[in-house]
């Protein structure tokens, strides 16, 4: 899933000040799962904004809505009647949802209420960890299912580097050395021979080197 983190309330207040009708828009997908942008969080943020305006003696209306997916035009079109009466939308979907919202409602300001961080998963309740950077050329088959691009601080493809100590990365004792994990995993799979094979220098053209990316599935694209 895409993992995000809530922006400080002060930043959101600064972005919506001088607006009378504010809509907080959540998303039922990733940001709901990572507990930052679902219906529950829409309610919490809307309440916080109402309290702020009340304390300041400002008359403002704060609405709430949660779309099935903000990154999907189909749902954005359905939300038109809900969205249009408002002066500004605070999107607490990921950066993709926020942008699709802004593109769909081109004359309405749309501001983000979260900082989108990474693609990852939950390690435990309330703890999410990065697993993928979308580099466009997946190496997991070679590395025992552990990604050196997203999990090694240096993105080393033939690790570990000299900064690996007792399974931890030199940048923090809280960060596992991805290459220690890879070696342990390859050992468990009986594939340590693979570790001996040098990986070629990575082609970053499928990452952002080639500019913004687009995927086209010919058979379904119109």
């Amino acid at each position: 899933m895409i993992v995000a983190n809530g922006k400080p309330l002060e930043e959101i207040i600064a972005a919506v000040k001088d607006r009378q009708k504010i809509l907080v828009a959540g998303c039922n997908e990733c940001v709901t799962v990572c507990e930052v942008g679902g219906t529950k969080e829409v309610g919490i943020l809307a309440s916080a904004l109402r309290l702020h305006f009340l304390n300041q003696g400002i008359k403002a209306e704060v609405g709430e809505t949660t779309l099935q997916r903000q990154c999907d035009r189909e749902y954005l079109v359905q939300a038109r009647e809900t969205v249009e009466p408002y002066d500004i939308v605070v999107s607490i979907a990921c950066g993709v949802g926020c942008q699709f919202m802004a593109e769909e409602f081109s004359t309405q300001p749309v501001v983000p209420g979260v900082d989108t961080m990474f693609m990852g998963g939950a390690l435990e309740r309330g703890v999410w960890s990065e697993r993928c950077q979308g580099c466009g050329t997946c190496l997991l088959a070679k590395t025992g299912g552990i990604c050196p691009v997203s999990r090694c601080a240096k993105r080393v493809l033939n690790g570990p580097c000299g900064g690996s100590t007792k399974g931890k990365c030199e940048i923090s004792k809280d960060v596992d050395c991805a290459w220690q994990l890879i070696i342990d995993r390859l050992k468990a799979l009986g594939r340590l021979d693979d570790y001996e094979t040098l990986m070629p220098i990575k082609d970053w053209s499928t990452d952002r080197a080639g500019g913004p990316r687009k995927r086209i599935k010919e058979e379904v694209a119109s």
């Binding site: 220098i201 990575k202 082609d203 970053w204 990452d207 952002r208 080197a209 080639g210 500019g211």
Partner: protein, 287 residues
């Protein structure tokens, strides 16, 4: 008189852009530069123009500085993060290279190493702010420097920005705020179009250095007109080359006339890009 002094004095400056080689045979590069010594105020050494890997601008500048030539080093956002940029700027200043031209750099997909990971840690304005910060005696982290570098900093101005003049002017103002002291244009083939752009400058007193790129053929002229949106290529110019009995001589003559026109119009200087016709540069400069 140095490039910086002439620029400050309002005297016309002549720059030549010379590409360093891809490889370590620098005989031609240094030779071309030596042949224009005394005829140009400084040699601009591009930093891997079009994202094609070759000797770095700093290296090229040092090679020419060793032969007594003044140089302009290009500093490029594409390949270096803020650590590397500042480190090279300090190195350049310590080695006596203090004329800079800040550029953003074409993405790697334009060049010959399209698998490279681009950096773009800083954008062009931020790079110039970083240069100004170094010149104030501190680095970007606010740490005091042992010895303060002094630079003459220029950058580009897209005078061919036909439909986006306001955006270009906004960027120009940001660049001026960031400390840009001179501006180099894209290749100019139509001085009227350039003059039309400068009318938008209002009361901004900027030092503008138009770029004269040597045409080589009708095909090149057509390709520029067709593919470079920010370069205006008059049809008459293409016809002129096409109908000339000696096309090479005509191309050189066009460059000479453009340079004369730029001088006469009162611009701050000219940058000539021979791009493969370096051997004709002394003739053009001597004309």
């Amino acid at each position: 008189m140095s490039f910086a002094q002439k620029l400050a004095d309002g005297q016309f400056v002549t720059l030549a852009e010379l590409e360093p080689p891809k490889g370590v045979d620098v005989i031609a590069f240094v030779g071309h530069a030596q042949r224009v010594k005394g005829k140009v105020d400084a040699v601009v050494v591009p930093e891997m123009a079009n994202a094609v890997m070759k000797i770095s601008s700093l290296g090229g500048c040092m090679l020419l500085a060793n032969k007594g030539l003044e140089t302009v080093m290009q500093v490029c956002c594409r390949d270096r993060n803020r650590l590397a940029l500042q480190a090279d700027l300090l190195a350049a200043a310590a080695l006596g290279i203090t004329n800079l031209m800040a550029v953003e750099g074409d993405p790697p997909s334009y060049g010959d190493h399209h698998k490279a990971r681009p950096v773009y840690d800083l954008n062009n304005q931020e790079l110039m702010q970083a240069i100004a910060k170094l010149a104030s005696g501190k680095d970007m982290a606010g740490v005091e420097l042992e010895g303060t570098p002094h630079f003459t900093v220029g950058t580009t101005l897209n005078t061919g920005a036909l439909g986006a003049v306001q955006q270009e002017l906004a960027q120009l103002d940001q660049n001026l705020d960031a400390g840009a002291q001179y501006f180099i244009t894209p290749p100019v083939f139509d001085l009227d179009q350039l003059a039309a752009f400068t009318k938008h400058l209002g009361d901004r007193q900027i030092k503008l250095i138009p770029n004269v790129l040597l045409l080589k053929s009708v095909g090149m002229a057509r390709a520029i007109g067709r593919h470079l949106k920010h370069v205006h290529m008059p049809d008459e110019l293409i016809e002129r080359v096409k109908n000339a009995p000696d096309r090479v001589r005509e191309c050189v003559q066009i460059a000479v006339e453009l340079i004369e026109g730029i001088k006469a119009a009162g611009y701050s200087g000219v940058m000539i890009s021979p791009l493969g016709w370096e051997d004709r540069l002394p003739h053009i400069l001597g004309a």
